[in-house]
């Protein structure tokens, strides 16, 4: 078994995000503060209330579908297809040929925001034929479902086993350690934690972490809208305004991000430098009351302490910036408490893609910052709400970036923190 102190490296990334086919696209948009959210469209749902969204475009969806082996396509949800495409790119980025590794030594850990199946559309055909004068004829509905295929025949496969794990294991031929997590934003941390543990304690040589999901599901949209979390999007693509005084809610989105993880020894054996070292992962859950927001900064403090890191060693912070007035005010207060006057630049990427379920946009941004030694300005930020914070505004900062703290908080009460540093940084 590997030593518990084994360093874990991220050696490859890939993504399929609104307006971004790869991490370089995201970085370009971050530098240009060019938002990729667009008017909301859906073949299945009609709404005038949800007007703006971070969509995967039809072209992107077609590219993703093409990345899925033909025989698996009918089983794969759109989110799984995005995840496969992101993973193919991440493997290329890592210069990793999985055929060179024993399938039993490849771990696979998937994160999904929430279920999109059973979905309303999967219910449509049968119901449409079984409604008689506003009353549902249940036997007719059952007949329609069972005998006339009025419901997606692969509904269970799409809904039961976190589809992306099953599809990815087949697409990439992985037979090793595994886990699949469906738990909104915290799914990412759950998958990442398991992947790191699997590598660190010798259960895997390589771990694929595939994070994918969509908020484009009627029941989810209903819930979030009812909680007044969504922006009316009167400013179009500029409506998601993290930490801005004019912020009026979130724009939601969808997409996938894949990470390739290896131990330092394994990466060095392949002569791969890696993109970043994972210094630590932490989370703190605050399912108590809505007023208990201090878990956000406690989470970061606890993580830094556990990793033996001083806050002074952090060059930048990638924060959540959900775009909701109240949420962002709470986050600013927490950041101020965490930083306690220290001048550490804070940025965030949520304005570019919209808020994504189960996608570590913050980590992907941090990886780009480490690579390019820049800290991008926050898009749509004109009047900051946190005057004690160094929120990066207007122009990107060019400065040494060796270690980045990423912080995430979800409306469900889950807070997480990840510290990434340059592979050579001590």
């Amino acid at each position: 078994m590997a030593n518990a102190s084994t360093d874990i490296f991220i050696t490859g990334t890939g993504c399929l995000l609104p307006g971004c086919n790869n991490p370089a696209d995201l970085w370009q948009r971050l530098l240009e503060k060019k938002c990729a959210t667009v008017p909301y469209t859906s073949e299945d749902i009609t709404t005038q209330i949800i007007s703006w969204f971070g969509h995967i475009s039809p072209d992107q969806a077609a590219t993703a579908l093409a990345a899925v082996p033909f025989k698996l396509r009918r089983y794969a949800t759109p989110a799984s297809q995005w995840g496969i495409k992101a993973t193919v790119d991440a493997l290329t980025n890592a210069q990793l040929d999985l055929a060179c590794i024993a399938p039993e030594r490849i771990g696979l850990f998937t994160a999904q925001g929430d279920y999109s199946y059973p979905s309303l559309p999967s219910f449509t055909a049968g119901v449409g034929k079984a409604i008689e004068q506003n009353n549902l004829n249940l036997p007719a509905l059952t007949n329609e479902f069972l005998n006339n295929r009025g419901m997606d025949a692969f509904l269970s496969i799409k809904g039961l086993s976190n589809n992306s794990l099953a599809i990815a294991s087949l697409a990439f031929g992985t037979r090793g350690d595994c886990g699949a997590y469906v738990q909104n934003k915290s799914a990412t941390i759950a998958a990442l934690r398991s992947a790191v543990m699997s590598l660190r304690y010798g259960y895997s040589d390589v771990a694929l972490v595939i994070c994918t999901g969509t908020y484009n599901e009627a029941l989810t949209l209903t819930e979030l809208y009812q909680q007044n979390l969504l922006s009316p999007a009167k400013q179009g693509a500029a409506s998601q305004r993290p930490f801005d005084q004019q912020a009026d809610g979130s724009i939601l989105g969808e997409g996938a991000i894949a990470l390739i993880l290896e131990t330092r020894a394994h990466a060095q054996k392949r002569n791969v430098a890696g993109l970043a070292k994972i210094d630590g992962i932490g989370n703190k859950t605050a399912f108590l009351t809505v007023d208990q927001h201090n878990n956000y900064h406690h989470c970061a403090q606890k993580l830094l302490q556990k990793a033996g890191l001083e806050l002074d060693s952090v060059d930048a912070i990638v924060a959540t910036g959900a775009g909701g007035k109240k949420a962002d005010q709470q986050e600013v207060v927490q950041l101020e408490q965490l930083l306690n006057g220290k001048d550490i630049p804070v940025t965030c990427a949520s304005a570019i893609t919209g808020n994504l379920p189960a996608c570590p946009l913050d980590m992907l941004t941090a990886l780009q910052m480490l690579q390019h030694q820049k800290i991008p300005a926050i898009a749509n930020l004109t009047n900051p709400i946190g005057h004690q914070l160094h929120l990066v505004q207007k122009e990107s900062l060019t400065q040494p970036v060796q270690r980045v703290l990423t912080l995430n908080r979800c409306y469900t009460g889950f807070n997480s923190a990840v510290v990434l540093s340059s592979p050579s940084y001590q």
Binding site: A4, D44, I45, T46, I49, L72, E104, Q112, D114, Y115, P118, L120, F123, T124, L138, L141, T142, F145, L146, R149, M151, D152, A153, L155, S156, I157, G159, L160, S161, N162, L165, I167, L170, R175, G176, D177, C178, G179, A180, Y181, V182, Q183, N184, A187, A190, R193, S194, M197, Y201, Y203, T222, Y225, Q226, N283, T285, F287, L288, T412, G413, F414
Partner: protein, 425 residues
């Protein structure tokens, strides 16, 4: 240094009882939870049997605890009460300051027909129609899939790692295995781990039926669940929740906790074979068992009992038998194994299945008695192990395996031993 991991609390909520003692007594007595059943009173639904929780009894038994809870899915109700029972059993109810996390196995979300209908406008599903009728929408449906994990964390003040596994029928076993790893590696002292599921609604049962997974036979009545039998024809769906409290040995000893047994190994693997079928030779299943044994530092001949996944489906039971014979081939040790399928008694709890079966394995190990495989009247010639048919049997167990395999080719195996102060004793 790795911590030893012990089990200090048990909770089971299902048709065979709402206390683990009732569940265990029913297993040893050879009772069956399977009864005639139809979804939402549709009389000609092809699936005719299931193991549903008795609503009236459940509501009555847990009325005090449930009355204080927000609306939640059926599975979350079972799971929350099972977690409560496990924490109570461990003597940890109301304790604060624990370095504790939660790991849950959960499956497909519950979607009930009346709720889905709220979204139907003239031209199909219409978000505005749904939003206009939002007050009628079952509030439980609006929660995320990690609702149960969040509720358990909130109820017991767990602020450590929270994991919601969605690995189909391996979900709860994954949750227990991951918890074992986190405690062993010193990340936390204590975990509430298990699963809860309820697929007994029209939407989900239709989906499962379209795949041909549940039995639609009426030949055997309430003896329909027949793992390893020639007459098996598919699983029998069930519902319930089961949780255990796992602790580091040091933590358990420091507070004088009762210890049921020790978890010593966990293995997980993927088939990478087909979406809809396990590998016919059980390659993935064999790999997870092998990895669990390696993880436990045990040779195969240390195992005396296997609680099989044993779904009563034509494909699983032969593949699992093949896998067992592969892993325990040396000196034909497989001939000495006691193997039983708890699903023959309680049905298939789907994502939660691994939790009650882990508890059954643990109690069998602790008490030296193995629950039976019911309805094994005409063994499949390809299923030629000792499946402990019909009646519970006394067996001295040094170590035991609990298998859980999920749709899509996801496999887990857990190894447990009776607790002894000297690990090698």
């Amino acid at each position: 240094m790795n911590s030893r991991v012990v089990v200090t609390g048990l909770g089971v909520v299902g048709r065979l009882g709402f206390e683990w003692q009732d569940f265990w007594a029913a297993l040893l007595a050879g009772q069956s939870a399977i009864v005639p059943w139809q979804p939402e009173n549709i009389e000609d639904f092809p699936v005719r049997y299931a193991a549903p929780v008795d609503n009236a009894q459940f509501a009555s038994y847990f009325s005090a605890q449930l009355s204080a809870q927000p609306p939640m899915e059926r599975r979350s109700q079972f799971g929350l009460m099972a977690a409560h029972q496990a924490m109570n059993d461990a003597g940890l109810l109301g304790k604060t300051g624990l370095n504790m996390g939660v790991a849950v196995g959960s499956g497909i979300p519950e979607r009930y027909t009346p709720d889905m209908l709220l979204a139907m406008g003239d031209g199909g599903p219409d978000w505005q129609t749904l939003y206009a009728k939002r007050e009628q929408l079952n509030p439980a449906m609006r929660s995320g899939n990690d609702q149960l994990a969040a509720l358990i964390a909130r109820a017991h003040g767990a602020n450590g790692p929270v994991q919601n596994f969605s690995t189909a029928c391996a979900g709860a076993a994954h949750a227990i295995g991951s918890s074992f790893r986190m405690i062993r590696n010193g990340e936390v002292n204590c975990m509430i781990a298990g699963g809860a599921d309820s697929v007994l609604n029209l939407m989900t049962m239709v989906g499962l039926n379209l795949l041909g997974a549940p039995s639609v036979s009426e030949d055997y009545g309430d003896k329909l669940c027949r793992p390893f039998d020639e007459g098996r024809s598919g699983f029998v769906a069930a519902e319930g929740g089961a949780f255990v409290v796992l602790e580091s040995l040091d933590h358990a000893l420091a507070r004088g906790a009762h210890i049921y047994g020790e978890v010593v190994g966990f293995g997980s693997s993927m088939d990478a074979y087909r979406v809809t079928a396990p590998h016919p030779e059980g390659k993935g299943a064999a790999l997870s068992m092998h990895k669990a044994l390696v993880d436990a530092g045990l040779d195969a001949d240390n195992i005396n009992y296997i609680n099989a996944h044993g779904t009563s489906t034509p494909l699983n039971d032969t593949a699992e038998t093949f896998a067992i014979k592969t892993v325990f081939a040396k000196d034909q040790h497989y001939q000495k194994l006691a193997v039983s399928a708890t699903k023959s008694q309680i049905g298939h709890w789907i994502a939660a299945a691994g939790a009650p079966e882990f508890i059954a394995t643990l109690l069998a190990t602790q008490q030296g008695i193995v629950p039976p495989t019911l309805n094994l009247e005409n063994p499949d010639p390809l299923c030629d192990l000792d499946y402990v048919p019909h009646k519970a049997r006394a067996v001295t167990i040094n170590a035991a395996l609990s298998n859980s395999f999920g749709f899509g080719g996801l496999n887990t195996s857990l190894v447990v031993k009776p607790y002894k102060e000297d690990r090698h004793g």
